[in-house]
Amino acid sequence: MAKQEIKLTVNGKIYHLEVAPNEILLNILRDKLFLTGSKYGCGIGECGACTILAGGRSYLSCLIPAVAADGWEITTIEGLAKGEELTPLQQAFIDEGAIQCGFCTPGMVMTATALLNENPDPDEEYIKDYLRGNHCRCTGYIAIVKAVQAAAEKQRQG
């Protein structure tokens, strides 16, 4: 069960890491790189709290052995903003009150970012369906859907 060296690019920064074959990517991000934005909710693919992006698509970091991500270029919630400047989607989550405790928010924002990459003009049904794997236990989904719609609108206007 020898450790293996892997290379990860996370939010543009390159890391060379020694990981055991059974270590989970989410734990590497949180415990080794101290990027604690990605959350552990269920650990079994049900809640979306651990969602990250690779190649613009969303993946669940709780189900990925870190060794299997060798060579990946990953974006976590920490990598979206440019310094203090939030993405339109992040700003919309604040403006629409789409955050309460905030636990689901990083996963929600990452999945919604992938959504807008795929479809810049989504309708309500599309948003609800796309976010169906991200669970929120407090805000409720209405404000979240509104935030995605507002961000889409803003992006379209440039």
Partner: protein, 294 residues
Amino acid sequence: MNTRIIPVNYNYLAPTTLAEALTVLADKPRVKILAGGTDLIVKLKTGVDIPLEYLMDIKRIEELKLPKYCQRGLFIGPLATLSQLEKDPDLQKHYPALAEALRAMAAVSVRNMATMAGNLCNASPVADTAGPAICYGAQLKLENITNHRIIKAEDFFTGPQTNVMTPQEILTEIFLPQPLANCGGAFRKKTRVKADIAKISATAVLAREGNIITHCRIAMGSIAAVPLFLGELSAGLIGQEMSPDLRREAGRKAAETIKPIDDNRTTAGYRTAIAGLLVEEVLAAAWQRAGGEL
């Protein structure tokens, strides 16, 4: 249960060619194949007892990747993800029941990771792509270091979480033959909430000449130890004229054939009560897609 970690140790291998992967399977004991991991990693985290000395990640094997459509049909590589397949225009056009099953599975991040081959190899009686695979006459290519064999989807499953594969084999191709003319297919599943594992599912693929059924395959999920091909019922419908009575009778027979159990998602009673209606529904939808009138 601590689902933060994988509580077992193993060695990790990531071959880049099929030949290399088949050699590993031939030479080493207790190798488990990792594709998207959406079944396997969940099982390892939740303590399912899986003999495991080597985890072999096949995702770096380029030759196993893409879906490819030709005159004979659709070849699906075992690494094609559910998302890639769902968006494939040839698949949507020619195999609508499979497209429906893919759309109804999990949510986007799982679908970006999960593969259809993994869904079949995991061999759960609820596997959503199993019914469409059976009804479209899918042929599964199983390869080991020296040989390959082709198994029909309906002969692949042997029990809950078991199939005909030997530990030395890889599923290297799922082949869906070109559908017949005037053919239609439909898939439906019942869930507790949207995007859930099926309490029960049904698939039908039909072809017709006028009002006469010329080809028919029906399968159901979550109602027996394996995804079930209702072969006798399907054969009995061929040559008959489509009608509401015929669909009702087919539904009644389907409900008699299945062997459902109670589990954490629903009861055997519910499954039996709803099975007939679901079969009626997929037959009607498939018939309409074949251009037939109801």
